[in-house]
């Protein structure tokens, strides 16, 4: 049993380290190509763009989202905004009435519930060459759109994903997420270099209109439409890039239960979408998505769950020994030298060093991501250990739940999650 567990542990850590080294090599190969612009830029030509804002019960936040879109440094006549109210039960529709006079903004209602329906309603009404969407819980940096549009100078680039930044973190959970997002930026940019991006995030990914003409509109996709469309693009050989300096500020879940719900949905969506697109797996003709992104995603899901199990087994041996000791000689809290330090009993098995290496590689990635996105500013550093500790304990739980839901086909719902968020905010 112990041998079996160890073998699995080594296989999984080997794969995890492999992925991290792969990213690091990619980073050193391409780091000169990572462009971070801090000043305003001018484009030679401003293509027309429509941004679709799907909203469901967002009376409190949709105003900010629309205002941040109006504040984009982009010619007003080239930027259209379509807001789709997706059968909200609150005052969202009334809030939207304030914008009916604005020629830039069009308002629609979609009674069929589902984010994909709202997005498709928007797609039906676009007249521009480019289209993107912005979730109503996010706002954008004024330069974000221009920075994204520069990536379309490559005629093969069909979609560009932005950098999603945690908006104004206030508590430990949000700081932990900020660190996590920095790591995600790094992973995403490396995947972009490899041509293996698997998600065009709901907040502010911009597509060429042809994408939808060529591969069809949004589908119902396990409440993660942004993953499904990216996989469908990859399957059809449409390239996705990533603009690290196009910042989108998103309101991150502020408590563990909220974060838990969001992640169960994301990971459930990843598993189900990846299974729907299982024909991509290990097929060189689809490029990195099938050889690299999807398998490593699965490995990280399996690995994290295994690690939880592995830790429990280790913990069990320690506790079992303590129980035996208590049975034999009674319970002693302080019995002689409790905190004695002996070099001899420091664990020096290979797996300890392997784990340390993996942690170092992950932290290097996170720091690279942080510097890539925010430049060489000075940062607080403690959010990194906070991130590692919090996620170490709770990530396996939402992973397990997501796997369980995927196996039992129980859908995690975006609408339900939004209801829950609103309820718990009030």
């Amino acid at each position: 049993m112990a041998l079996f567990l160890n073998i699995i542990f080594y296989i999984l850590t080997f794969l995890a380290i492999y992925v991290q080294v792969f990213f690091l090599v990619t980073f050193f190969e391409n780091r000169k190509k990572i462009v971070i612009r801090t000043k305003d830029i001018e484009l030679e030509h401003y293509p027309s763009v429509t941004i679709i804002v799907p909203c469901y019960n967002e009376e409190n936040t949709v105003g900010n989202t629309i205002n941040s879109l109006s504040a984009l440094n982009y010619p007003k006549d080239k930027l259209n905004i379509i807001v789709v109210d997706n059968a909200s039960k609150d005052g969202t529709w009334d809030v939207l009435q304030n914008y009916t006079d604005n020629p830039q903004i069009k308002i629609f209602q979609e009674i069929k519930v589902g984010k994909h329906n709202a997005l498709n309603k928007g797609l039906e009404n676009i007249t521009t060459d480019f289209v993107g969407c912005l979730d109503a819980d996010s706002t954008v940096h004024p330069e974000a759109l221009k920075r994204i549009m520069t990536y379309f100078s490559n005629p093969k680039t069909m979609a560009v994903a932005p950098s999603i930044v945690v908006n104004n973190p206030k508590n430990l959970i949000q700081y932990a997420q900020r660190a996590e997002y920095d790591m995600a930026h790094y992973n995403k940019k490396m995947l972009a270099f490899l041509g293996g991006i698997h998600v065009t995030p709901g907040p502010f990914s911009i597509f060429r209109k042809e994408v939808f003409e060529q591969i069809g509109i949004y589908k119902k996709a396990h409440h993660t439409e942004d993953q499904e469309i990216a996989l469908r693009m990859q399957k059809n050989g449409l390239q996705i890039d990533h603009a690290p300096d196009a910042y989108v500020y998103t309101n991150s879940p502020s408590s563990v239960p909220k974060l838990y719900r969001q992640r169960v949905r994301w990971i459930y969506g990843f598993i189900r979408n990846a299974l729907d697109y299982r024909e991509l797996f290990f097929k060189p003709k689809y490029g990195s998505i099938g050889i690299f992104t999807l398998p490593s995603g699965f490995i990280s899901v399996i690995g994290t769950i295994f690690l939880l199990f592995f830790s429990f087994v280790q913990l069990y041996t320690v506790i079992a020994r303590k129980i035996l000791q208590t049975q034999a000689v009674g319970f002693h809290i302080i019995n002689g030298k409790v905190f004695s330090f002996d070099f001899f009993t420091l664990d020096s098995r290979t797996f300890v060093f392997v784990s340390i290496m993996l942690y170092i590689l992950v932290i290097i990635g996170l720091l690279n991501g942080r510097r890539m996105i925010h430049g060489r500013k000075k940062y607080i550093w403690w959010d990194i250990p906070v991130f590692i500790i919090i996620y170490m304990f709770i990530a396996p739980i939402w992973l397990l739940k997501a796997v369980w839901n995927a196996v039992t086909s129980k859908e995690a719902s975006w609408a339900k999650e939004r209801d829950y968020l609103i309820k718990s905010n009030n």
């Binding site: 390239q239 034999a328 070099f343 020096s348 060093f353 290496m357």
Partner: protein, 234 residues
């Protein structure tokens, strides 16, 4: 453009990354070996010191056959060294990848224990029972929960009564001196853990209270100042 170029290099890169990853694993393995060797060195040092100390006690004992019994015979700290060694060997058996080194050290340690046991008996015969030797037999050949528990009890007892000398023997250690000892006390692997105190054998798990009941003279024979220590259970 970038993406296309990368596609060409893809396979080469997968191989290079594989080599780097294998290299990292080799470094991890190397580090582990390095520290394990350091630990083995530490164990050998302790073992050598132990051997020298026992030899010194023996020599002192033979030299001064008129040794006055109150005098320090040098074996005071041996008990501590023996237990330190025991815990290190125990740790190595559980944690070293290749525990052949630990096994070898354990064989040597077993002989040292027997030597010290004989010496203690001799000193006791001449000077009256000052130190109480306990022989403790266990096994690592099979999963012996009772043995683990017995180990805890003896550690506890030794903490309370420093003059107690516990000699632990792994039944499965391959040393002829141990085989002889097993024969003398008729220890079979069917009845482990087993204790021998004052030439009396007891088999199966014995708690602190059991041992006190079975061998009341343990406490009587100990120097008065150590009996003042609070008993294990009230």
């Amino acid at each position: 453009m970038e993406i296309e170029n990368n596609k060409k290099n893809d396979w080469m890169k997968y191989v290079v990354v594989l080599v780097i990853t294998l290299g990292l694993f080799a470094v991890a393995g190397g580090l582990s070996n390095f520290f394990t060797n350091k630990k083995v060195e530490t164990m050998q040092e302790v073992q050598n010191k132990l051997a020298t100390d026992i030899l010194s006690s023996e020599t002192q004992f033979s030299l001064l056959s008129e040794l006055s019994c109150g005098q320090d015979d040098g074996s005071e700290n041996l008990s501590g060294e023996l237990s330190d060694m025991a815990s290190k060997i125990d740790y190595s058996e559980n944690n070293f990848k290749d525990n052949s080194v630990a096994t070898e050290l354990k064989r040597y340690y077993t002989i040292l224990e027997i030597k010290d046991f004989i010496l203690t008996k001799k000193i006791n015969q001449r000077c009256g029972n000052k130190r109480v030797p306990i022989l403790y037999f266990y096994t690592t050949a099979e999963n012996c929960t009772e043995c683990t528990k017995q180990g805890f009890v003896l550690t506890e007892l030794r903490k309370k009564y420093p003059d107690l000398k516990v000699y632990s023997f792994d039944y499965s250690t391959d040393v002829s001196a141990l085989t002889a000892l097993l024969k003398i006390y008729k220890i079979s692997d069917k009845e482990l853990p087993a204790l021998v105190i004052d030439e009396n054998k007891a088999t199966g798990f014995k708690s602190v209270e059991d041992i006190k009941k079975l061998y009341p003279n343990i406490i009587k024979l100990l120097p008065k100042d150590t009996t003042k220590i609070i008993p294990v259970k009230k």
